[in-house]
């Protein structure tokens, strides 16, 4: 079984600074693998341990993005493919186009795994676009993936329900962070990762259709939320009775 896993070199959110206008400062910040992508890598590795085969990690970015591929290699991915392009200058649809061309260039894969969104811009647009371009089934927000021969059974984590679906191989899935707990590579694995192969492909080498439009983020800011502040006074017994009354009124408790 061959697994492709898509990863993104993103700003390290623990080092992220916010400017005066409440916008994140993305330029010049340290980068690493987008946190959620580790779940996609972990899932591919877990499936490989069950079914055998190969896991290839793909990324689009500058030479800096090699760091992210190395992180994936240290976790246990077999090899990496870097599509060299300036992330800042391409949109999500172009990214999906480059990824699909690179994936196709590496032969047939049985499953393409992505995370639900990147930890920097979190548009979540790439996985679905990728499936569309590759003309494969797309299963978004998966919290469980099981491969049974020629088909796969996946559980989709939706807001208020779980949807169980069956998909024919090959398919594209995005996974949610609850799907697994990503492993931490050991220091030895990190050192050995530099011996694993990374193939570099120039974006220009990949046959791409003319650019189509893709949503563009116009701005990003924190939304202030107003909370209700209710102070309950009286003895503990009285306060408890008032609390129950208040909770019932809010509809969070019913007798």
């Amino acid at each position: 079984v061959r697994f492709a896993v898509c990863v993104k070199n993103a700003v390290d959110e623990t080092e992220l600074k916010i400017d005066q206008g409440g916008r994140p400062v993305l330029g010049g910040a340290a980068s690493r693998m987008s946190a959620f992508d580790k779940n996609a890598v972990e899932e591919a590795l877990r499936l490989r341990s069950l079914h055998g085969g190969e896991v290839v990690a793909f990324t689009v970015g500058t030479a800096e993005a090699k760091k992210t591929l190395k992180e994936a290699l240290a976790m246990g991915v077999d090899r990496g493919v870097l599509v060299v392009a300036d992330q800042g200058k391409i949109d999500t649809l172009q990214t999906a186009g480059l990824l699909s061309a690179a994936i196709t260039g590496e032969g047939r894969f049985d499953a393409v795994l992505c995370s639900e969104g990147s930890s920097d811009t979190y548009t979540g647009l790439v996985p679905a676009a990728l499936a569309e371009i590759l003309e494969l089934a797309y299963v978004g927000y998966s919290r469980k993936v099981e491969i049974l021969g020629e088909t796969a059974v996946l559980e989709r984590s939706l807001e208020d329900s779980v949807e169980k679906v069956e998909a024919l191989l090959p398919f594209v899935a995005s996974v949610v962070s609850e799907i697994n707990e990503p492993r931490y590579p050991t220091l030895i694995q990190i050192m050995q990762a530099s011996k694993k192969p990374i193939t570099e492909v120039a974006a220009g080498q990949l046959a791409l259709e003319a650019t189509r439009s893709s949503p563009v983020i116009m701005g990003m800011s924190a939304q202030p939320s107003n909370r209700k502040h209710v102070v309950l006074d009286g003895t503990p017994e009285e306060a408890a009775a008032k609390l129950i009354e208040a909770l019932e009124k809010e509809g969070v408790l019913s007798r």
């Binding site: 390290d12 623990t14 080092e15 690493r32 240290a74 931490y184 050991t186 030895i188 990190i190 530099s194």
Partner: protein, 390 residues
């Protein structure tokens, strides 16, 4: 407070010391990431003893932190000592008690590596460096600390080995460790032994209540007719004191670095608080007396880090480094106590009452005593300078 433990300052220090070795930064950045996510958030609980640090220590050992300085043939990573010293700084920031436990663990490994036989290295090093076995270092006695030569623990020669009698005091990892690097006097003088916990005749005192470093276990180690086989002797009889001095030189750099890590986390907390806490209509970071503290703390941390790295680089080059190691430890440990004290002052009443602030001072306070007191190390530094001056 959330923070990446491995930051741009560590990166530039590594790059200037080890150009062309970007992999050292990859290793320390990953290690820092692990400690930021898995160790640092638990640290307050280890201090209050509301959580046991054993599992976290094991997880950190399994990451390979103690493999860093040993050659690959002994299960190590074969990286320079300076990388290990920086790794222990990160550990000191994540949790000082775990860092102390790891440092002592590796001091024992160092003794086996430097002075043990090929068989002893094969038998113990891969297990110790990978964390399958925990190690301890037992030199100090109830009545001999700095004056280690006057030890009263005895190793009496028998037909097929030695019989140990006596006791060791204030031993880190005591009772938890599987392997002990023990000093005991034979007829030829202080000698060193590797003793396994499973040996009959070995027992441990109760966990001592300490000012700081509360996550780590400290107690007495007692030997009562403890029979050990001949091959537990490390090196030659009578050489124990020389071995101890050599082992302590390395671990003094590490203890200095660990204290730089403690100071750094206290500093980060103090800076964050100073920017947020307001008085007289302004954040207290606007006041010059607070700014002075911040500047002095930062300067001390940078100086301590550089002294530790300098001593590590001398060691790597094969040069004499005992005085440099002593200077790194005296300066960094005392700097750390001062910096943590300043952090308490910046926090004011909250600093005196919050364990998450004053524990850094309590942790750092051990290390102007352990692994060579500041007083003994100053004598070492001075006597060397006076000998050179004649």
């Amino acid at each position: 407070l959330t923070m990446p433990l491995f930051n741009s300052e560590h990166l530039s220090l590594l790059r200037s010391n080890y150009p062309e070795h970007e992999e050292y930064a990859e290793v320390l950045s990953a290690l820092g990431g692990f400690m930021s996510e898995r160790i640092f958030p638990m640290s307050e609980k280890f201090d209050s003893n509301s959580a046991n640090m054993g599992a976290s220590r094991k997880a950190l050992l399994e990451q390979g932190v103690c493999q860093i300085p040993f050659p690959k043939e002994h299960g190590g990573l074969g990286l320079p000592y300076g990388v290990y010293v920086l790794a222990l700084e990160l550990a000191g920031s994540a949790d000082a008690g775990i860092a102390l436990s790891l440092a002592i663990h590796n001091t024992a490994a160092e003794g086996i590596f430097q002075f043990g036989s090929g068989e002893q290295k094969r038998k113990y090093l891969p297990d110790i460096t990978s964390g399958r076995k925990l190690a301890s270092f037992a030199l100090t006695e109830p009545t001999s600390g700095s004056d280690a030569k006057s030890m009263s623990t005895r190793a009496k020669r028998t037909m097929d080995g030695y019989v140990l009698n006596g006791s060791k005091a204030y031993i880190t990892n005591a009772g938890e460790a599987d392997v002990y690097f023990v000093f005991a006097a034979t007829e030829k003088g202080p000698s060193s032994f590797v003793v396994e916990k499973s040996n009959p005749g070995m027992s441990f005192g109760e966990d001592l209540p300490k000012l700081g470093m509360r996550g780590s276990r400290t107690s007495e180690v007692r030997f009562e007719d403890c029979r050990v086989p001949q091959d537990s002797l490390v090196g030659d009889e009578g050489m124990g004191f020389e071995y101890a001095k050599a082992m302590l030189n390395g671990s003094r750099i590490v203890m200095g670095s660990l204290c730089v890590g403690i100071a750094r986390v206290a500093f980060d907390k103090a800076v964050a608080y100073a920017k947020q806490r307001r008085a007289f209509g302004a954040p207290i970071s606007d006041f010059q007396l607070i700014r002075g503290k911040i500047a002095d703390m930062k300067t001390g941390i940078s100086a301590g880090r550089l002294l530790c790295m300098h001593a590590a680089r001398l060691r790597e080059s094969g040069a004499e480094y005992a005085s440099a190691a002593a200077q790194a430890k005296v300066f960094s440990t005392e700097m750390s106590v001062d910096a943590c004290d300043s952090a308490i002052q910046v926090f004011g009443g909250h600093g005196y009452t919050s364990g998450d602030v004053h524990r850094h001072w309590r942790d750092a306070r051990l290390l102007t005593i352990g692994e060579g007191t500041s007083e003994v190390l100053r004598l070492l530094i001075a006597s060397r300078e006076l000998a050179l001056a004649t």
